[in-house]
Amino acid sequence: MRDLVVQAQNGDRDAFAALVQMISDRMYALASRILRDNDLAEDALQSALITVWRKLPTLRDPGRFEAWVRRLLVHACYAEARRRRTWTANVRVLPIEGPAGPDEYLTVDDRDVLDRAFRRLTIEQRAVFVLHHHLGLQLTEIAETLGIPAGTARSRLHYATRVLRAAVEADAAPVDHEGRIA
């Protein structure tokens, strides 16, 4: 990959095309999980990759290419989320029966609860949560990726986790006959 990066830095569009083929799936997966909206994720990915091409000559260490792209992508996600600053109803159809996903541990109800709670997070909190739980990055890596202090990454992850856990626990709490959470 490093050779392709160096070639693309020198304006080689074929090399850049090869790089795009190598990273686009991973980057799209990341964007769609942060934004929870495939259309926005497509826009963010497209925008980020064009920015990657434009700014590639300014990348100092070709070995850091993917981390750098990830950073640009997360910022593109921020921009997309803010651009669509609307309160549209996020209605999605969830399957009533059958496996809920790759892990039987996750129920349809869990998914719905997590989906709704996740949308209440800020886009910055979402990004940290996804980088940690989806990509498995540690806080220092997240901080480096996003260009933020490690303490900020930690507090965002803490807040996001607290909100999502609270939502899951509230949903799991028994409900009395009057519909109140016990």
């Binding site: 795009v20 997966a29 609307t86 986790t161």
Partner: protein, 383 residues
Amino acid sequence: MTSERDFDRLARAWLELGPDEAPDRVVAAVLQAVEDTPQVRRPLRWPTWRSFKMNRISQAAGLAAVLVVVIGGGILLSQRNQPAAGGPPASPSVTPAATGTSLPTSTPTQTPGGTAPSSVTPVALRTFPVSPPDAQGERSCDAIGVDDPVVGILDGDATLLEDPVWLRAQDGSKSSIVWPAGFTARFTPTVVLYDDRGAIVARAGDTISLQQSRSTAAGSFDDPYYASGMLLQKCYPRDLSTGSNGSNEPAMIELQRAPTNLGCDAIDPGYRSATIHIDPESAIVLEVNNPAYDGTKDKVNVDVWAEIDTAGGAEPQKVGTRLAVYWTAGFNATDGTTPVIHGPRGEEVARDGTRIDGEFTKLTGYSVCSSRDAVYILEYVPG
């Protein structure tokens, strides 16, 4: 109670759901776009890190050597660019050039945009190349999108040779800027920024909003912002000062949205009337509610805001205080020659200068809920 391990497993399982393949059309669109997109060439800059350590003497020697090269090269270039006696003056132009610190190739000339003082030597700025005008006289843009503008106050110091002109943020921090080719500055004694045609772009103290495209720059000398957003939407050259816009295509107006389940409590907002302002090119930044309405706020460059013009109540606010304006989803803005905000039925609700006063109960029939820092325009009667 969900244990930490349980929750982590749950979170990972949930995040595994979702698409893992980028749609082909997106990849194709990117590759198509880069065909016509130039790369930003890396500007001349000090190395940010070295693989070897320098002692103070070698650092000083190195700095001196670099200064000799820069200043000597500058003198040579200046001499080469001097018109021959009796010959035609150099005409200001923007041409593709190698990126890096460039000296002005011409003396700015008087234009309707302002008069360049001739008694002060232009100061070279770090610049990036700009595509020349096409047959229609339009310039291509070296930027995409108009998000995350970099907003700051123009400031400068002629004694700082390597970075004499910058933008100062609200918190006083300095943002280094790489300007379009041909831009120069003069100090009279405060900084005045000129474009390649010699027109005044801005003066010290002016607010400049660079429609930076999703910049990830740090704004440091080594990782500067590019003033590429100035070239967007055929708006170059233009007066970048707050409120001015040389564009024939006004930028899109973005409304701050209010949720449709908002209640309205009777509180004392500290004012009796306010005037709505609409300016797509505004550089006004207000703290507005986070889209999730979770109690946090974002600093946003707003296109629409209100200003208190009559204070009142038990704790009156200052006249002129700016308020955010939120609109429920049914309201839309159109950005023609005169920007207008329309209601859910398509009727005009507000334009620049529309006043909301009295008890703040209605705006063209719609409910108005006022708070100390914002006005909410609702398409329903709040509870």
